[in-house]
């Protein structure tokens, strides 16, 4: 038996990692197909402002990050409705969150190791309360995705026809982006702010190359993502690498492998 499973911190890392992988890859397919691949990155940077605020004012950083991320998500949707291009709306909020974060960090007298763990992830230091929060929020998000699967699928394929068929396209879009905001914050513990979008974008982009049905693509995306977390964590343990970075490298490796195989 692999010795790494004897350690509680590794067990927690696997549980949290796999759950986050499932969440990110599921919502990631919708985000990628809607051409919003950088949304995750944008929301993660907005959350940075929330984390800095949480640290400065002594609030639970997960909660403060969540508030920032959700408000940012709603703000991006509002700007889009006011005819600001989607990528510009993301860039505006992205800059705002980052700028606010930098100011708050400077007020709290500079960087500390906690902040570094948010930037680059710290899956090996996931504690039991993190696991509980990720489990509860994660299952709530998955359930919501399952309940609104039909609507999300329809608006991702064709918004105009969905609207003509009586689906409330605006509300479903807001739901999608708010769920993304929640997932991004939950994922920051695993891969960090700077690498969050990798879990959203790479598994979906890899799965799309298999050219299967929507449901099959969704399942493939989840398998690829979970596999990368497992292999990445094992590699990080034995080779003494940063876990977040190792997971992303495995994802990119799988992506390249599928890419070259599909070309031949």
């Amino acid at each position: 038996m692999l010795e790494l499973f004897q350690f509680v911190f590794m067990q927690r890392a696997f549980i949290a990692g796999i759950l986050i992988a499932v969440l990110c890859s599921t919502i990631g397919l919708f985000i990628v197909l809607k051409r919003m691949a950088l949304l995750g990155d944008g929301l993660a940077h907005i959350s940075f402002g929330g984390i800095a605020a949480g640290m400065l004012f002594g609030i639970n950083t997960l909660i403060s990050a969540l508030i920032f991320s959700i408000l940012g998500a709603v703000g991006i949707q509002k700007l889009k409705k006011m005819k600001i291009y989607s990528d510009s709306a993301i860039a505006i909020f992205f800059s705002f969150g980052l700028a606010l974060g930098v100011i708050l960090v400077s007020l709290s007298r500079g960087f500390n190791s906690d902040l570094m763990s948010y930037l680059f992830g710290s899956i090996l230091s996931v504690n039991i309360s993190d696991i509980i929060i990720i489990l509860i929020a994660g299952f709530a998000v998955l359930l919501t995705l399952f309940l609104f699967y039909k609507e999300l699928f329809y608006i991702t394929f064709d918004e105009a026809s969905a609207k003509a068929a009586g689906i409330k396209v605006g509300r479903v879009n807001t739901l999608l982006i708010v769920l993304t905001a929640i997932i991004v914050v939950l994922s920051m513990r695993i891969v960090g702010i700077l690498l969050v979008s990798s879990l959203l974008v790479i598994p979906a982009s890899t799965a799309l190359m298999f050219k299967r049905s929507f449901k099959q693509t969704l399942i493939l995306s989840t398998i690829i993502s979970a596999l990368a977390v497992i292999i990445g964590l094992i590699a990080a343990y034995y080779l003494n690498l940063a876990a977040g970075g190792a997971i992303v490298m495995i994802l990119i490796g799988i992506f390249l492998g599928v890419f070259f195989l599909s070309k031949h």
Partner: protein, 249 residues
């Protein structure tokens, strides 16, 4: 007595200062087959967007199924195939069956999944358009004409009372066009579906339609169940128009 499904009463609409439709009044009754013609920019698509509630009239009123308020319930009774429907991402991972199943979604509540009954309706819609054999193919891998039929199947799967088709044959070959008109004829006659078809191919649709609607800022409706006369057409295209468009191959 035929029931009115769509009623326009002195409806006007402008894009900014550009008057697009002026005081439009007409009604569509159950089982009617309306052909809408008119020059580009004459307001044909605007007319459809007003029916679907994408646009709100500047003045006048529109009633769907006797009600002025546009509700999700009313929209569910309309199957709409837009002019741009085939402009989707051809790499999108969806099978023909998955696309047609979207037609059932608005009839399902949030928690409800598709039932066996829904699957039967989806397969029937695919059979009606002759695409059942393609149900597991990816939509992006089909030809333009085949995709068009799949989108019509999606509209049919919603079991609509009215089918609205906006220039459905753009880029579709002649053979498929003939099959398509046969399909519309069957749907209108056998399934008693009310159909509104926007087209610039008057020659082709003339044998099918009951009413010809000419849209060029003003809207005139002609009963053409006994054939189309020259004056029926000049209303839309002006006096310079002197031939029914037709194809020479």
């Amino acid at each position: 007595m035929n029931t009115k499904v769509i009623e326009f009463n002195k409806v006007s609409f402008s894009y900014g200062k550009q008057l697009t439709l002026s005081s439009v009044s007409f009604s569509v009754c159950k089982k009617d087959f309306f052909g809408i013609i008119g020059p580009n920019g004459g307001g044909k698509t605007t007319l459809v967007k007003l029916i679907l509630g994408f646009l709100t009239p500047d003045s006048g009123q529109i009633k769907l199924f006797g009600k002025e308020e546009i509700t999700s319930e009313n929209l569910q009774k309309i199957g709409y195939v837009s002019q741009k429907v085939t402009n989707f991402d051809y790499n999108f991972p969806a099978t023909v069956f998955e696309v047609v199943s979207m037609g059932r979604f608005p009839r399902k509540r949030i928690l409800q999944q598709l039932s066996n009954e829904d699957n039967k309706i989806i397969e029937q819609a695919l059979t009606d358009v002759g695409m059942l054999n393609y149900k597991n193919r990816r939509i992006g891998d089909l030809s333009g004409g085949q995709q068009q039929r799949v989108f019509i199947a999606r509209a049919l799967a919603s079991e609509p009372e009215v089918l609205i088709l906006d220039e459905p044959l753009t880029g579709v070959d002649i053979e498929s066009q003939h099959q398509f008109y046969e399909l519309l004829k069957t749907l209108n006659k056998d399934k008693e579906l009310t159909i509104i078809l926007i087209s610039h191919d008057v020659g082709m649709v003339s044998k099918l339609i009951t009413n010809l609607v000419c849209v060029n800022i003003h809207v005139t409706v002609h009963d053409v169940s006994k054939g189309i006369s020259h004056s029926d057409l000049t209303c839309a295209y002006g006096n310079g128009f002197d031939a029914v468009p037709h194809h020479h191959d």
